[in-house]
Symmetry: C2
Subunit: 423 residues, 2 copies
């Protein structure tokens, strides 16, 4: 028997009408004979509304209580979806994360799944019930409710698919899949047919909001194939995230990701000796400030410059911490810039093929876009540019790497074209 | 150490501001050194809003899923109240009904508490935490969430007080206690200083909405003294519900309860033989129709009339069932009346003192109110009257039994006056 895990995001269950439509889709799969387990997000803006409510009763709500509060959003939508299925004469049962056997660590607000006890899930499936699991939540060892972080219903779905050895894991969202770039700023962007885990991870962490990064990690770890599809457009084929990409011929760039707003902090004139970086980044971690790209320039006269990016909301906090640290280690000064963004070119094949970085830099140069900072990984090249130029940069790179063309249209000439730019 | 269980109703926690005010009150008690456990209802109209949402996704939502859905309302308010306490630097922890160890049977929507495992509650209290328990819910043996019926946060509070051997159980509501009659229709009504369990039960089941009837039953069973107080008027002393009433001198009537809308069904010409009543009321119970007052008139020629009242919303369903039953047992016909109400005089002492019934009937007669039906218990006399005359009846009876006077103002003459009416 085919076993499917599906996930529906908040926009897919935003209203009673949406929920009934989703129920119809689930019912169809159930009637075809599949075993269906569903992970569901809170309706529409519920989570934000609950956070607002919390901010009205407390200046600094304790994370444990925030998790109790936020977990109710997914319980509501899971119960409603189960009701809508019963209305279609499909036997269904809603389970909270704890009831579904999802065990986590005790880190409130961003707990990690420790394991899933599938006994109840298997029992409900054996009774031919559709199982609706409230996404985004689990149970810590002390029997407290935990949540897994914003967008983590994806993670719930992939973890369920792994634990239940499902044949498929389908993530339904409000877009038609993983795009070569954000279609809102790049109209030529198209949905990819497939993408590798690592590429998807780089896309997710550098701005493509379509999937929760931890869900992709988990998929990679357990080899769960993840199909990302639109819940509004049944005909769109969606994007398959899996281990072996089908290697779209010739074009080793899979997509352009971007972040519209980042801030950059540079500690200048840092004495270049071991342990210095830790003295800067440990206090940032303790202040719970998440640091993105880090670049250290080459040493001159035993002095170096250390640059990193943070979310704009974290800039003030980061400066407080870093100014103290800079004084302590005897750095010259700390400078910062606020109105920046990033643009990233991502593709597994790039590492083994020369010229991608050069082509990226030339494209930006020709578009009149100055590069403030560069960082690369095996499968990604990221440039920090002015925030106002991010959209132009995405469009220029999308065109330069010919991402608007379907892969089978790419000619042989272009197949080696990845290296055609000035190296 | 003093141990207190408090309950705050939906109107007491309707907004963030309300929740902060309630938190202030709890914090004060905690700082005085008391151990405080709180049962809290859902905010304002949350439960009705959730029911509306359910009706939009399903014509007939399964009770199990309704319980999952409805239980979230109290979880939200418990988490928010705990946050508000933390904001006042009071250590607090919110627990769902299941987390608080409240075990129930598996009758969804109106589960009964089977027992409370107090281990976690005691552990949290020992750590000097205020414990906020989501009211109205528990955990069935199959680990499903259940709810205890509308208004059952009262029941949660009394059950917690019994299980924790609390020194006091305080029910905070939007009125200043248990009134001699509904102040909205009888301006002379005053809050009672105390009332017995049985009297309170009769008040609760015949229309006084201030307390959940099952909470009073439980209080009676475990000897929990229950103080009903206003959460808006700290100075009002409230009403103590307990076993030994302080016997307000002379006046054996404690209050007038009423129901504005009931319907009456009469099966006429019923063959008067054993088992007939069961043939009528069993199918009503199977159809889940709750029957209120039942009266059987004296037999004439081996034929009798059977009359009962139901909620107006149940009238059509009751008629369907009863018409079938009447045909089966060979009764003459079924007649019914819709626009009726009830008015009840309640007081423990009445049974042993003559003349209360007579005074009630004379008072209604002098007010020009026709009595459609009469039913009595040891401590209650109920008359069914026209719906439009219910308010007049309440006011007339409140005056006739001198309930507007504080007990210590009642003179010796009136002390025996209960029997002064024509018997």
């Amino acid at each position: 028997m085919t076993r499917i895990v599906q996930k529906y995001g908040g926009s897919s269950v935003a209203t009673a009408e949406h929920i009934k439509r989703v129920a119809g889709r689930i019912a169809a799969r159930h009637r075809e004979g599949a075993e269906v387990v569903v992970s569901v997000s809170a309706m529409g803006d519920t989570t934000d509304e609950l956070l607002t409510l919390a901010s009205r009763v407390s200046a600094n709500p304790p994370p444990r209580e925030l998790d109790v509060l936020l977990s109710t959003g997914e319980i509501v939508s899971s119960a409603l979806l189960s009701m809508a299925l019963h209305d279609l004469e499909v036997d269904a049962v809603s389970l909270s994360g704890p009831q579904a056997g999802i065990r986590t660590d005790s880190v409130y607000r961003k707990a990690r799944i420790a394991g899933i006890d599938t006994a109840r899930l298997e029992r409900e499936l054996a009774a031919r019930r559709v199982v609706i699991v409230a996404g985004f939540q689990g149970l810590a060892e002390n029997l407290d409710v935990t949540t897994l972080g914003r967008g983590a219903s994806d993670t719930t779905a992939v973890a369920l698919a792994a634990a239940l050895r499902a044949d498929a894991c389908e993530i339904y969202t409000d877009v038609a899949g993983v795009f070569t770039a954000d279609p809102r700023i790049c109209p030529q962007a198209r949905a990819l047919r497939d993408i590798g885990y690592e590429e998807m991870l780089e896309m997710a962490t550098t701005g493509a909001r379509v999937m929760h990064a931890r869900a992709v990690e988990l998929g990679s770890l357990y080899g769960v194939d993840i199909l990302v599809k639109s819940s509004f457009d049944a005909l769109a084929p969606g994007t398959l995230i899996h281990r072996e990409t089908t290697m779209e011929l010739g074009n080793k760039v899979r997509g352009i990701a971007h972040q519209e707003h980042v801030s950059k902090v540079t500690v200048r004139g840092v004495p270049d000796r071991p342990g210095i970086a830790a003295l800067i980044f440990e206090p940032l971690a303790q202040a719970n400030i998440s640091v993105d790209t880090i670049v250290q320039n080459a040493s001159v006269d035993e002095l170096t410059d250390l640059t990193f990016t943070v979310e704009p909301g974290d800039l003030d906090g980061a400066l407080r911490v870093v100014n103290d640290a800079a004084a302590e280690i005897g750095a010259r000064d700390v400078v910062w810039e606020r109105d920046l963004g990033t643009v990233s070119v991502i593709g597994t094949g790039m590492a083994s093929a020369p010229g991608y970085a050069a082509r990226m830099f030339r494209t930006l140069f020709e578009a009149g876009i100055n590069i403030e900072m560069i960082s690369t990984s095996d499968i990604r090249i990221t440039c920090v540019v002015a925030s106002a130029q991010v959209a132009d940069a995405v469009r220029a790179l999308h065109a330069a790497f010919e991402l608007d063309r379907e892969p089978d249209q790419v000619t042989g000439a272009r197949a080696s074209g990845g290296g055609a730019g000035a190296a």
